[in-house]
Symmetry: C2
Subunit: 422 residues, 2 copies
Amino acid sequence: MNVDLLIHSAAQVVTCASPPGPKRRETMTEVGLIVDGAVAIADGEVVAVGPTADLRADFTARQTINASRKVICPGFVDPHTHVVYTGDRVAEFEMRLKGASYTEIMASGGGIVNTTRAVRAASVDQLVAETRPRLEAMLALGTTTVEIKTGYGLDPKNELKLLQAIEELARTFPADLVPTFLGAHAIPPEYNNRPDDYTDLVVEEMLPQVANWFKNSQLAIHNSQLFCDVFCEQNAFNLDQSRRVLQAGRALGLAPKIHADEFTSLGGVTLAVELNAASADHLDVTPPAEQARLADSNTIGVVLPAVNVNLGSTHFADARALIDAGVALALATDINPGSAPCPSMPLVMAIACRYQKLLPPEALNASTINAAHAIGLGHRLGSLEIGKQADLLIVGAPDYRHLAYQFGHNLVERVVKRGKFV
Amino acid sequence: MNVDLLIHSAAQVVTCASPPGPKRRETMTEVGLIVDGAVAIADGEVVAVGPTADLRADFTARQTINASRKVICPGFVDPHTHVVYTGDRVAEFEMRLKGASYTEIMASGGGIVNTTRAVRAASVDQLVAETRPRLEAMLALGTTTVEIKTGYGLDPKNELKLLQAIEELARTFPADLVPTFLGAHAIPPEYNNRPDDYTDLVVEEMLPQVANWFKNSQLAIHNSQLFCDVFCEQNAFNLDQSRRVLQAGRALGLAPKIHADEFTSLGGVTLAVELNAASADHLDVTPPAEQARLADSNTIGVVLPAVNVNLGSTHFADARALIDAGVALALATDINPGSAPCPSMPLVMAIACRYQKLLPPEALNASTINAAHAIGLGHRLGSLEIGKQADLLIVGAPDYRHLAYQFGHNLVERVVKRGKFV
């Protein structure tokens, strides 16, 4: 059979293949390792994965690549980002290093509201232009699919503007971009001390407008689902407000996601399970009973250790306990200008191994197949299996564990997206 | 005046200039910031640094580069590495994540001795071939000068082989490479339980051979000094053995350096001060009295936080206290296959800011001018001043603080070494 692309003689192919559904516990350490492996690709899809000898016998190819001494693995999926923004928060970073408290930073105009001010003043074109280099950096680091949240607009017009920017990027950038509406990210200044009123605005005005806009958007045509997320946290949205937002979104066809237990445990994980959310994210202070509830659900647990590092914290989500409890775990960067100016999934893997006691195969599965499930795309992305989209990386190391073992530079040498080198 | 290269219109030029000698305390936060700055270069040296308007009036150039919206800073100096080696320790990395103790890893053939076995079996050519990509990664990340230690040979022949590999790399690689003899890195297996006998070997055979070899080496012609280092630590070399090694080296013209206080405080800092060492490195557990002694000396304190991160440790050298005490502080990667598989000075800066409470300007000075002083090259490297070697970076950000604020990818867009783009 003739194919478009045959990559062969890889020291290792790691498929991250799994039965339908995400990986849990024991299968988290199985990466589908093929020594001296090859991948055949046609029409943007994986046609075959196996030993080089077999694939070289079965296939001829328009383009053949020798990947000897390299690793082939699935492209990374980053299932939690706030990458569409403008402005930076470097001054706030220095203030915090000098010992300024969160309150002092807020008082000086810092925090999410700082970015909201900049985003409201920006055009769609400006947002697109400033985000593109960040997505390029992520793609070069191996991230071929990116979930992107709104949440810096915080009013109907500006939340839609962020979705328009995501749509425009999705139309022109090679990675798959998956949109999430996060109108309930923070209480905007004009609703200070009126969180219920702002929740009304989200539920009654923003969500219907967003859902309606999405129906006719290029994003929907690109086969993405739209998610609805909420920041369930003290000084953001309480459990009742969070439930209202997610239920209203679900009634409009938006799949729930939740920021839960970053600083305070408010019951967000239980809510996620109750609503069959796609994911519950952060989980820094999730108590064992809720870990167990998450393990018994279809909801993916997403941990974001670059945030802890960025804050200079020595406390991390107990990802080891989550996996051991049976939670289907994924990793994400949370890239954003305040709490995680970090685009790198490999660095997140490296941190997760060292500070959350994941093993290298678990970190890889958490960054590929389970991350794809966290954004509803596990059937199509996240592993190298016949019929799946051909998103893969050629890594300049002879063992996939180098992705987590080495840190601070980029081992990804080439990126294939939908069967094509980018 | 006509020059070879004029880089102008940079959002910021940060010179890291200082009076003779390294920076301490207050001047650690001064980076010599020039807004809308330019640098003029001729014959590989800095001819002028200043406002763009001034330099464009004063100079014409064979090549002119517009660096608008970028930062120009000195090339990074990495003053503590073990980058010449062969083999990896990825299996040991996974063992440690699974909870194996240091003793279990040693018993399974892990640790420094693992790399010693691989290095002894390798040829100079093989060492050069395997090290070159690591140096290339470091150069791409902005490191234009690299100190490199021996210490994986641990016998006369193989320690010389490592120096020969450094010499060959120095002859063919664009970065300045500065050699350090670290025969006293560990007790080799054949001297098990006989540290005094091995110290005799280092002092009586290896040091004279090494010093003699160095006199005729290309490294000496390249204007490098040769340093002599020792790992002063429990289960390595005690204080008396360390003193013997460094004194013997100094008598042969080798400037002392020391690995001190990584796990145990044995008085290594006091020894460093007594011997007027170029640097004392690690300093994870240095008591306040010794911090004060270091502050009153000419010895640079070098901290290596990538090691702490690699071990998943929440304890770091108290770099804030060291600076506040008046120590001239530098940062380094310590890149090596066991405790720091990390080539990135910017990531080290990012970690130092977050976990050691350095401010961004301190982290930059610690990675440039003070790092140059830690390897005896502060007069020639580490800052952008008239007459100094033109080693500089063009950084893809409008504010130098982004080097520490963002983490996980490479902001360095172009590297100039001795006045030439590499």
